[in-house]
């Protein structure tokens, strides 16, 4: 491993600091079943909330009769749009999402009414008695129907910041990126390939369903215990809906059973609060799996058209691309997804001539928004397929061709932004390629009979080796880290240092949503490293402290980690000032700069102990709350896409080895090796787990995961029976090779790591399937029908 430019010496002497595979602080609670997830919450006298949802993708609500529901014994409240007390819409960026349907439903499953009752079954029965009369409207389901003359407008009275520049009101946002002269480059190209690609609608499929408990307070406010990715963004959206000032809405993070982007938008947060305030009783809402598929946004399905041109010596000359994303009925994160897709459309390659257009549509399909790697995942599938085809056309090895065009530190993005941190794209590819290949025919046993668990089809006993062909494929991707395009992306941390029972104890308080990624582990590690203490107490995340931003965009270790470090350093300066005041007269070294806190003591950089923290602090507590923000970014120019839009880039490469039953079209991924640069492995065990998990979600998109939506906008597979995610028998060995090339702009040199592995896993698997079958395969997930021509 390369060494990061970190003050490694600082960590010496304090166990459990950064760089160690410290175990999760919540691990014991999670293995004993005591960890309280949002759906586990319980309150005396609580009611159960239930949501009535639209059975249509697009319809006018002619009337709503809730009298029978309200008369149901055990029912305490029934709410429709007419009952909303204040703001009736919300949204992450654009406030276009009705709290409850406002006379029109725009997607299948849109919330129409709420019920609170004393048992979930009572609530369900009451909801079934609500009579809604719908008049179905024509459904907008693709670009053609969205932009046809006379097409129904999803949001006819748009006044958002993108409304003025979009080519059609059913386009949420459009972002071009143009650089150089594509026409001239095309004239020089020795090889040109064009391709059309399609990415299906993937679901986050976090296992912990949407849930929360809202408890009305005596001051007229509400306390909400909730599984979310961003407490303060929720708060900013909920408070206006409740008609309450933000300080009357107190939010506490409960246990979160995974997120992956799917909890960035509100689900039942406002609903539970509305019911609690209406009934004066605590209200718990828990979606079941069926409802969960309607209760959160999904990954944008995409259609991508690419044209690549290269010189005869294998240099990329130009890339022309059009990326069409389906945003569904409401905006959610669509503008940011468009920005990512446009700015990362050519991948981690040096290309001087670029003409890219990315846009997201409003349709009557399910709303799409954040999911791990958004915008970049869709583009990576397409550009990596193009790279393989171009290499093939030029007669070059696909890895060699990529390496020849790989960007490196100092490269210029199509947006004009200079990549000013390490970009080891060629090296990542070299590493996955250099790894020994797994043995062929792994199903053969010493006993003679095949072990069907190692074959495509697995336990289903579809082949004993017949028709099985091996394939190997490679891919590499680029993802931005943090919020981009000029967003003020900051985090807040509060750190307190005091002496308890003779021992220095650091308390870290942030509003960061721990969704499983291990941010809490890393924050404690940072506090240990910076303050030289062993004992760190993590306060529950809540809105008593400032925003920590979203647990998304691979940003929490970077930004909230940065805030914790910043706060710790401020605490350290105060401690040293205290020490100087108390003991400075006794030892000249107190006047030196560069004193350290280490092993519960103040030491010089030479290791001389000046005082114990207990002596310095006595009964005083040093307490600092501060905000920290990464380098500012700029919006992309709306015409050219120029701008320093991103704060950091993250890179991963995969090599996939697959066995394909070419006759039945079934795939077994045999190995999915990953190499990733994480800048600094703050916690090697945790970051490896992130990479393996992200890789597996990419595998799922490659071969099985898709929400199927019919042409009339109806979701056809909202269950774990028909929306399949990989089991342990679908998931291969995932060897991980971690590079640590420090980004000097980031805390400890680290690089956001959570998303990059989700990008390249998908195209690597599909490249391997192409290698095994010789089929072009322009769509994911690859289905048996695609492999068998049926």
């Amino acid at each position: 491993m390369a060494t990061a430019r970190t003050p490694a010496d600082l960590t010496a002497g304090t166990r459990g600091g950064i760089g160690e595979s410290v175990l999760r602080p919540d691990g014991t609670l999670k293995v004993t079943g005591e960890f309280a997830y949002a759906s586990d919450l319980w309150h005396e006298d609580m009611l159960w909330g239930f949501t009535l949802r639209s059975p249509h993708a697009h319809a006018r609500i002619l009337s709503a009769d809730v009298s029978a529901a309200l008369a149901t014994p055990g029912v305490y409240a029934v709410l429709t749009h007419d009952d909303l007390p204040a703001a009736t819409r919300y949204g992450l960026e654009i406030q276009d999402t009705p709290v409850l349907a406002d006379g029109v439903v725009r997607y299948h499953g849109e919330p129409v009414a709420l019920v609170a009752a004393d048992h979930p079954e009572t609530a369900r029965r009451a909801a079934a008695r609500i009579r809604i009369a719908y008049e179905e409207l024509p459904v907008v389901h693709d670009e053609e129907s969205a932009t046809a003359p006379g097409a129904p407008l999803l949001h006819p009275a748009r006044d958002d910041s993108h409304a003025a520049h979009v080519p059609h009101p059913n386009v949420v946002h459009r972002q071009p990126v143009v650089r150089g002269d594509v026409a001239a480059a095309r004239a020089r190209a020795a090889a040109v390939v064009t391709g059309d690609y399609e990415v299906g609608m993937q679901d986050q499929a976090f296992l912990g369903p949407e849930s929360g408990l809202a408890v009305p307070a005596e001051d007229g406010g509400v306390d909400l215990y909730i599984a979310t990715q961003w407490l303060h963004a929720d708060l900013r959206q909920i408070a206006p809906v409740l008609g309450l000032p933000e300080d009357k809405v107190r939010m506490t993070l409960s246990g979160v059973g995974g997120a992956f982007g799917g909890r960035e938008d509100l689900s039942m947060q406002a609903h539970a609060c509305l019911l609690a305030l209406r009934t004066g009783k605590p209200v718990k809402m828990v979606y079941n799996r069926f409802e969960s598929f309607f209760g959160h946004v999904h990954r944008h399905p995409a259609r991508l058209h690419y044209e690549h041109g290269a010189s005869s010596d294998g240099r990329l000359l130009y890339v022309k691309a059009r990326i069409l994303l389906d945003g569904g009925a409401y905006a959610s994160s669509s503008p940011a997804v468009v920005g990512n897709a446009a700015s990362l459309a050519v991948g981690p390659y040096v290309v001087d001539h670029v003409d890219v257009e990315a846009l997201a549509l409003y349709t009557n399909n399910p709303p799409c928004g954040a999911m791990r790697g958004f915008g970049a995942v869709q583009a990576c599938f397409a550009y990596e397929a193009q790279m393989d085809r171009l290499a093939d056309r030029l007669g070059l090895d696909p890895v060699e061709f990529r390496q020849r065009n790989a960007m490196a530190q100092g490269a210029v993005m199509p947006t004009g932004q200079v990549v000013d941190a390490p970009a080891p794209v060629a090296e990542l590819l070299r590493r996955v390629k250099a790894r020994p290949l797994p043995p062929e025919r792994p199903w053969e046993t010493a006993g003679g009979g095949p072990d069907i668990r190692a074959l495509p089809g697995g336990l289903s006993n579809t082949t004993h080796g017949e028709g099985v062909v091996r394939g190997v494929g490679y891919a590499v991707g680029i993802k931005n880290v943090g919020f981009s395009e000029g967003f003020d992306d900051y985090s807040t941390a509060r750190v307190r240092l005091e002496v308890t029972a003779g021992q220095p104890v650091a308390t870290v308080h942030t509003a960061m949503a721990e969704v499983g990624q291990g941010g809490v582990t890393v924050h404690a590690q940072i506090a240990r490293t910076e303050l030289g203490v062993t004992r760190v107490v993590l306060q529950p995340a809540d809105t008593r402290v400032g925003s920590a931003g979203s647990t998304s965009a691979s940003r929490q270790t970077y930004v909230t980690g940065g805030a914790v470090r910043h706060a710790c350093r401020a605490v350290r300066e105060k401690v040293l000032a205290l020490g100087r005041a108390r003991f400075g007269a006794y030892h000249p070294a107190w006047a030196h700069a560069g004193l350290l806190l280490e092993g519960g003591k103040v030491t010089t950089d030479a290791g001389e102990v000046l005082a114990g923290l207990a002596e310095v602090l006595e009964d005083e507590a040093v307490d600092v709350e501060c905000e920290w923000r990464h380098r500012p970014t700029e919006p992309f120019d709306l015409r050219t896409g120029r701008g320093n839009g991103h704060v950091q880039y993250s890179f991963a490469a995969h090599r996939a080895v697959v066995d394909v039953d070419t006759e039945l079209g079934l795939v077994k991924v045999v190995e999915l090796a990953c190499a990733q640069d994480v800048g600094k492995a703050m916690n090697p065990l945790a970051v490896t787990g992130q990479i393996q998990g992200g890789t597996t979600q990419g595998l799922g998109l490659a071969v099985m995961e898709e929400i199927v939506v019919s042409a009339d906008g109806l979701v056809r597979n909202p269950s774990f029976t028909d929306y399949l995610i990989p089991t342990i028998l679908d998931t291969p060995a995932i060897p991980v090779d971690i590079l640590e090339l420090a980004d000097e702009h980031a805390p400890y040199g680290l690089r956001g790591a959570g998303e990059a592995p989700t990008l390249s896993a998908t195209p690597a698997v599909v490249a391997a399937i192409r290698a095994a079958t010789g089929l072009p395969l322009g769509r994911v997930p690859v289905r048996p029908e695609h492999l068998t021509g049926t």
């Binding site: 029965r125 089809g457 697995g458 289903s460 006993n461 039945l664 056809r716 029908e785 068998t788 049926t790």
Partner: protein, 312 residues
């Protein structure tokens, strides 16, 4: 104001009324079913509870069969296995691999280990989903469903049991006591296509049983028609081909053309639909591939160990 205004009195009748019947014996179960013909039997719960959890079904009576020990037993009666309706798939896999190899292979593909620990053939038959994993091997083995009521017991051949999509030949007062399946007299196979390597509902499935004693073959196809079906034309063709070629005696390899024709005829027996799990074309194609492969595996087994052992 939509909150009920005068609510201090707590309501009594609120949830969907449902009665949970717990017969302690088979006779009690039959009597309960006779009294409440619409009662939904529940054993492993792997179908019924999903429908209840997702609010797709609200029966007035649930008829719990868990306390009826007889349903969890299997016994040998001559050349036949009488398999209690609730013997879980896990035990079929572990205890009946030699006697009922086709069904044991199918049992191994059902859901997950947890589902296999609870679910049994009775539930599969009761639900009569075309995708039920046990149907193809039951058809191929020539099983008979033992249906009982207070009026008496009757045996329904498997191919007459499935009457439509999720419909079966049971009378409203009948329960499935057992399935009677001939002990295998030759190799049997089962294959199922799903788009995941475990825990998957069949896109389509195929089962083949060689019956050397009668010199016949039988098949079963799942999830490729409104009901589970036999590929009768394929069976007839293969039975004739094996007979004419003297193959049963010689144990010679099958000509590829015969295997191909068998596969085509099997595909021809399908009447599939396009749905979210797979296209009709793919289902036909996959059934053909599975038919060819399972024929290869069973015939190789017959030619090899199994026939040799028998001859010796």
């Amino acid at each position: 104001m939509r909150t009920p205004s005068d609510d201090p009195v707590r309501p009594i009748e609120k949830r969907t009324p449902m009665e949970f019947l717990r017969p302690g014996s088979w006779e009690e179960a039959l009597a309960a079913k006779a009294e409440h013909p619409a009662a939904v039997p529940i054993a492993g719960g792997t179908d019924v509870m999903v429908e209840i959890n997702f609010d797709q079904r609200r029966p007035e009576h649930l008829l719990d069969l868990n306390r009826i020990g007889d349903l969890y037993e299997w016994e040998t009666e001559g050349d036949e296995i009488r398999l209690g309706a609730s013997v879980p798939y896990t035990r079929i896999m572990e205890e009946l691999r030699a006697e009922l190899p086709g069904l044991a292979l199918a049992a191994h593909t059902v859901g997950s280990p947890q589902i296999r620990n609870r679910g049994g053939v009775g539930g599969n038959l009761g639900a009569a989903s075309p995708a039920g994993d046990s149907h193809p091997p039951l058809l191929a083995a020539g099983a008979q469903v033992e249906a009982a009521s207070v009026r008496g017991t009757r045996l329904i051949p498997a191919e007459e049991f499935y009457t439509g999509v999720k419909r079966n030949a049971l009378a409203p007062d009948e329960l499935i006591r057992a399935v009677r399946i001939a002990r295998a007299d030759g190799p049997q196979q089962f294959s199922k296509v799903g788009t995941r390597n475990a825990m998957v509902i069949a896109v389509c499935a195929f089962s083949l049983a060689l019956h050397p004693r009668t010199r016949t073959v039988r098949t079963g196809i799942g999830s490729a028609a409104p009901t589970p079906v036999r590929a009768r034309a394929a069976e007839d063709f293969l039975t004739a081909a094996l007979d004419e070629g003297g193959c049963w005696e010689s144990g010679r390899p099958l000509p590829p053309s015969a295997a191909r024709q068998f596969a085509e005829l099997a595909a021809g027996a399908c009447n599939p639909i396009d749905d979210v799990r797979g296209s009709a074309r793919y289902r036909r194609h996959a059934v053909a591939v599975m038919a060819r492969r399972t024929l290869g595996w069973t015939w190789d087994a017959y030619r090899g160990g199994e026939r040799g052992e028998r001859c010796a």
